[in-house]
């Protein structure tokens, strides 16, 4: 065998081992996710959520809505947030140097007036120009500040928060009426342990939305968006539910997460020099709590739903995936000292190494693996049958994970009411494997190279939105 052949042959073995390990990890996650969802089903039979609504033990929540040029959706979004079912909460909108009518529309709609609020920058932020409040709706506070990015706006909201918990939510996201109630329940039950919770984010494209609420769940008409429905279900119901069960959840979605305000302040709030500020905060909280030797939990709660608009064009999707993967790379770089260290428990020993190996480097191995298997065949090292069998097992396993995520959804939450929708999701889990998966791998590989060059940090992720909360 020539050195080239030896290299290709050896690399093929590496790819095979990598693939086997990755699948093993996903199977373990699937097992934990299955147990978590089973617990959830059993629990649902034993308790009524309205008890919490009446409970004086429910902690107060400040819902923070960072907004940058959100004039199309901000009024309806705030109105729908103020209508959430929760005993005690305030809404803080932070306009991060918006150049459109975001603040003006809020001023008109809610009769806002300047309020002499003392701004205490516990977490340093760009200057706050003014704070507005409404005499009619005391739960609403609006801050107008100099542009500093999404993380900076969130930090401003945390500085202004009065309540014990802070909930970060995207301005264009839609929460189910009980979402806050459900995501705060772990804080009520384990007040001494739970420091953060994240709910499931679902795709609202195609759903019927009226007055800031999802009234009828449906699949998107766009195939690109429909495939993302399957992707999201897999990510939340398998990966996040699984990692959460071993208290190694590394990401709570920036679109909807609840945290203890005092701890977020203690660790310094959101980092402004990354595009992955949501995940970075979670990893930093893990780190701080484990460094302090404190018992804690960051939990994924499958019931509370946040609806968001998914990109329908490949160009916008590419930008989104690029941002996510760069964010992931930055998080892992910032916290590289945690990797493989026993003092960080399951986070340091399992979740971070697995995320590096199978998420961060996934596209590298996937694309070079395809090339290596093809080269092996070209050089006569592998038969065409092996090539076909390997590709088949790789694609089928991807589909297997998606279908099992659908099974978890079906066994527990069942948010897609029609049988045809279920069939559609199974079909899209098949379609995802042909082209879409490889395309996102290419985008993520490109994002990784950009992250290595440390470009594009701390921006607002611009997305051409169609405006969900205004209805369609």
């Amino acid at each position: 065998m020539s050195p080239l052949e030896q290299l290709v042959y050896g690399y093929n073995h590496v790819v095979l081992a990598y693939f086997a390990l990755m699948n093993l990890m996903y199977l373990v996650l699937l097992y934990h996710a299955g147990r978590a969802m089973l617990d959830r089903v059993q629990r649902g039979r034993m308790e009524a959520i309205d008890d919490l609504l009446r409970s004086p033990l429910a902690p107060g929540v400040t819902v923070i809505v960072p907004a940058y040029n959100e004039q199309e959706c901000i009024v309806e979004s705030v109105r729908s947030l103020l209508a959430l079912r929760y005993p005690r909460f305030q809404v803080v909108v932070v306009s991060d140097g918006s150049t459109d009518e975001t603040v003006a529309r809020l001023e008109r709609e809610f009769a806002l007036e300047a309020f002499p609020r003392v701004y205490v920058p516990d977490i340093p932020t760009a200057p706050v120009r003014r704070v507005l409040r409404s005499r009619d709706e005391p739960r609403l506070l609006v801050a107008e500040k100099v542009n500093g990015g999404k993380a900076d706006a969130l930090n401003c909201g945390i500085n202004l928060a009065d309540e014990e918990l802070v909930c970060a939510i995207d301005a264009d996201a839609i929460l189910d009426a009980d979402a806050l109630l459900l995501s705060c329940r772990p804080f009520v039950e384990h007040p001494d342990e739970v420091i953060g919770t994240g709910g499931i984010v679902r795709i609202a494209n195609g759903c019927r939305i009226e007055q800031g609420r999802v009234e009828e769940v449906a699949l998107p008409r766009s195939r690109v968006a429909a495939i993302q429905v399957v992707e999201y279900l897999r990510a939340f119901l398998t990966a996040r539910a699984g990692w959460s069960r071993v208290n190694a959840l590394l990401i709570v979605s920036g679109a909807f997460g609840v945290f203890r305000r005092d701890l977020v302040r203690q660790v310094g709030g959101y980092r402004v020099d990354t595009v992955g500020e949501d995940g970075e905060l979670v990893v930093r909280l893990h780190r701080a709590m484990r460094d302090a030797g404190r018992r804690y939990r960051i939990t994924f709660v499958p019931d509370p739903v946040c609806w968001t608009e998914a990109p329908e064009s490949l160009a916008v999707l590419r930008r989104q995936r690029n941002r996510w993967h760069r964010g992931l790379a930055e998080i892992l770089w910032f916290h590289r000292e945690m990797v493989g260290r026993g003092r960080y428990g399951a986070v340091g020993l399992v979740a971070l190494p697995a995320t590096i190996a199978f998420e961060l480097l996934g596209p590298v191995v996937e694309l070079t693996g395809i090339a290596a298997v093809a080269a092996g065949w070209y050089l006569g090292l592998l038969s065409v049958w092996f090539l076909v069998a390997f590709m088949l097992v790789s694609l089928v396993f991807g589909m297997f994970l998606s279908v099992t995520a659908l099974a978890l959804e079906e066994a527990s939450l069942r948010r897609y009411p029609k049988l045809s929708q279920l069939g559609g999701l199974v079909l899209y889990s098949l379609l995802e494997q042909f082209g879409y998966r490889q395309l996102t791998a290419v985008w993520r590989l490109r994002a990784l190279t950009q992250a290595l060059r440390s470009k594009h940090r701390g921006h607002w992720g611009a997305m051409d939105r169609r405006g969900l909360v205004r209805g369609r």
């Binding site: 034993m46 099974a407 199974v426």
Partner: protein, 342 residues
């Protein structure tokens, strides 16, 4: 090697196909069973609502003499659902009915079922029925059941029944960590003032989480300042407890209890070395609005921590001791008061 990989792919495909078939069949079966159950529930709903809601000792004829287990299960479910929403005489009347007609006994039997979800559901049903005689069974489930979810359900149910006899079991479940602290706190709140003697003892517990729960519950219970023992216990916790969270919770509780002794204890806590306790003391002072806290609140206006200064300003404005300080937090607090938020 190729054969192994092919076998793997084939087995995965088989699993996917099987899952797709199972999902479809299950969806159809659930829809059919759901329709059938809804019809059954609808048949008895009006009778149950009438029986639970009206002051009539005689149950409607349609609720007695049910023959099939399915009918009894539907009526039991409706009784649990609606009884959980009423109090007083109506609740006692339904409790007598479910005891006489065997619904409570059936749920008690289910507390020993093999499947944990059946035991948990039975505990919930007993809590909704509000049958006092079931509390011992529920306490056993709270102490002995292997499933955390069943223990949680039993704790909730004990609270819903509202009898104090299992209070000690609740507190010890909290101490052992076998039931989450928040669940125990809610159950104790549901039991109400009858649980007070145990709660006063719990404020001095060696377990931090028990002390914390006790302070929070006593504060939220609405016990009056006439209960000198309560104020004394909270005073001790607010000033001497080694745990910051417990001291803060005790301050909040003192603010709700009210009275001269509570005000003096709160004033003392405004000098605590932890900012979160000082803030809690200022919040309590704002709630008490007692002149005995005025000097302490005025001092707190110059606290090193801005959160404490904000809380002190709110209290100072309510107490009318804000003049001449020049703190920007006072302007904020005055605006809040003027706009009717405090």
């Amino acid at each position: 090697m190729i054969v192994a990989v092919e076998l793997l792919a084939a087995s995965q495909l088989a699993v996917i196909a099987a899952l797709a078939v199972v999902l479809t069949c299950r969806r159809i079966a659930i829809a059919r069973a759901g329709r059938h159950r809804r019809l059954l529930l609808d048949r008895y709903r009006d009778a149950v609502v009438e029986f639970v809601g009206l002051d009539d000792d005689e149950p409607p004829a349609s609720l007695t003499g049910l023959r099939t287990a399915e009918q009894r299960s539907a009526v039991g479910e409706l009784l649990a659902e609606y009884t959980g929403t009423v109090r007083g005489e109506s609740r006692s009347r339904v409790a007598a009915f479910v005891t006489e007609h065997g619904y409570a006994a059936a749920a008690e039997r289910d507390l020993r079922a093999r499947r944990s979800w059946r035991r948990g559901t039975a505990a919930k049903t007993l809590g909704d029925f509000g049958v006092v005689a079931s509390v011992d069974e529920l306490a056993d489930a709270l102490r002995l059941d292997a499933s955390p979810q069943v223990r949680v359900s039993a704790a909730r149910a004990i609270g819903r029944v509202g009898e104090a006899q299992a209070t000690a079991d609740l507190i010890s479940a909290c101490a052992m960590g076998s039931v989450p602290a928040g669940i125990v706190a809610q159950a104790l709140l549901d039991i109400g003032e009858e649980a007070l003697p145990w709660l006063l003892g719990a404020i001095g517990s060696p377990e931090q989480r028990v002390r914390l729960v006790a302070c929070r519950v006593v504060g939220l219970m609405g016990v009056g300042a006439a209960e000198a023992e309560v104020v004394a216990a909270l005073d001790t916790a607010a000033t001497t407890d080694p745990d910051v969270a417990v001291r803060g919770a005790a301050c909040h509780a003192l603010g709700r209890v009210g009275g001269l002794d509570a005000a003096l204890a709160v004033a003392a806590s405004t000098a605590d070395h932890e900012a979160s306790v000082r803030r809690a003391a200022c919040d309590a002072a704002a709630r008490l609005a007692a002149p005995e806290t005025a000097a302490a609140v005025t001092r707190a206006l110059d606290d090193s921590d801005p959160e404490v200064r904000r809380a002190a300003a709110r209290a100072a404005v309510l107490l009318g001791v804000a003049d001449g300080s020049g703190s920007p937090f006072l302007e904020e607090a005055e605006a809040e008061l003027a706009w009717g938020w405090r």
